[in-house]
Symmetry: C2
Subunit: 235 residues, 2 copies
């Protein structure tokens, strides 16, 4: 158990820093554009298979049409998630990152382009379902107002401490698939403790997207965030 130091070259680090700086500028442009249109933007991130799409599907069913929503979905490949979300009636734009090298995250310039395909005047909420990945998406600001991480209880308790950047940068965590708890050796108190250790005070919503359990508290949190944003627009 000897920790090993990397010997990544300074040159490479410089290049990465430059890419991130360009992304940061484009993210700010996106943020201004969404603010002018009074659109609340939420960036939803998680491991592959944590239940992001089902959670968003159930969320859209409960908040539309009162809240007018659209979705940008990021995947390396396929339109499976977009197809599932389109059933809700929300406009859905699928981004396939394999069109440009199989990127493991959505970057600000990709969101800028995807947003062109959406009538921003006609919506209050833009949901961005990021590529399934607990590492890279956290490093790319895309101009969102809030970040949410979905964590399935089937993934074990320790993901918050193993992927701390994601949990530190998010504004809320959804602990999903709690309907499976009776069948797992899962210490929920430990998982919640790990989240609070990395990000003290972050709201945690225990949900089952499949059964619908717990969705109300999460949706109330989201509604309140949107309400504050819309109130600012009408000033």
């Amino acid at each position: 158990m000897k920790p090993v130091e990397g010997n990544k070259s300074t040159r490479e680090v410089k290049v990465v820093t430059r890419v991130l700086a360009v992304n940061e500028r484009m993210a700010e442009q996106n943020r201004r554009r969404f603010a002018e249109k009074g659109v609340f933007v939420i960036n939803v991130m998680s491991s592959p298979g944590s239940g992001k799409t089902t959670t968003l599907q159930k969320t859209l069913e409960r908040i539309m049409p009162g809240i007018r929503a659209a979705v940008i979905v990021g995947d390396v490949s396929t339109t499976h998630d977009a197809d599932r979300l389109a059933v809700t009636g929300a406009p859905v734009v699928q981004v396939n990152t394999d069109a440009f090298g199989g990127d493991c995250h959505l970057a600000a310039h990709v969101i800028e382009k995807a947003a062109d395909a959406i009538d921003l005047d006609a919506i209050d909420l833009l949901i961005i379902e990021n590529v399934g990945n607990l590492v890279c998406p956290a490093e790319f600001d895309i101009g969102e107002d809030a970040r949410v991480v979905v964590l399935s209880v089937t993934e074990g308790e320790d993901k918050p401490v193993k992927y701390p950047t994601m949990f530190r940068l998010c504004d809320a965590a959804l602990l999903n698939k709690i309907d499976l708890l009776p069948h797992l050796d899962y210490d929920k108190a430990q998982a919640v403790g790990y989240i609070q250790q990395v990000h003290p005070g972050m709201p945690i919503f225990e949900i089952s997207a499949r059964s619908g359990e717990g969705l109300e508290a999460w949706i109330n949190w989201l509604r309140e965030k949107i309400r504050v944003k819309l109130a600012a627009r009408s000033k």
Copy 2:
């Protein structure tokens, strides 16, 4: 559902290509070094929380000491997995990528350095547990002889088509957590079909690392791979 094309600059793509070319050379160096020592190297990849560590723990318990094994474990942060694997008595080296920018994968130069901490003359098998991520680790050759992807049935059926590079490059797939099948809406035939669609003929082992079910077939496959390598050494 309009696919969006990225406008990633040529400059950025060139830099990424250069990084990958350097990695490729270092991976070949690793491969020669491991071959000279007669060590079979397996790179184990998956989403976060698919059960890699439990699978490897149970595998080590069954193959040691007949097969002398060591493990390199990659995580962004913590030594949780290394602590769990060290219980088996195998030498374990933990790599924490947050020491060099929070990398989302293990690269060949990191493996080169980590391997310095292991007595390669004293082992037959080096297991590398990669960072939990279905995208990036597939792109980095680290000098391994075989690649294995672990897929939990709780992640849904469609991960092979959503992350095709990973499944295309791997030599075997472990479909884990099958003890949970009675509690899930999971179409196993569809999942297997997706794997075969992306990588026709790839061996698929259905296992429950928790209960031990199905581990024997996977371990027989691994034993046979190691046997062939050791036979080549003794020539």
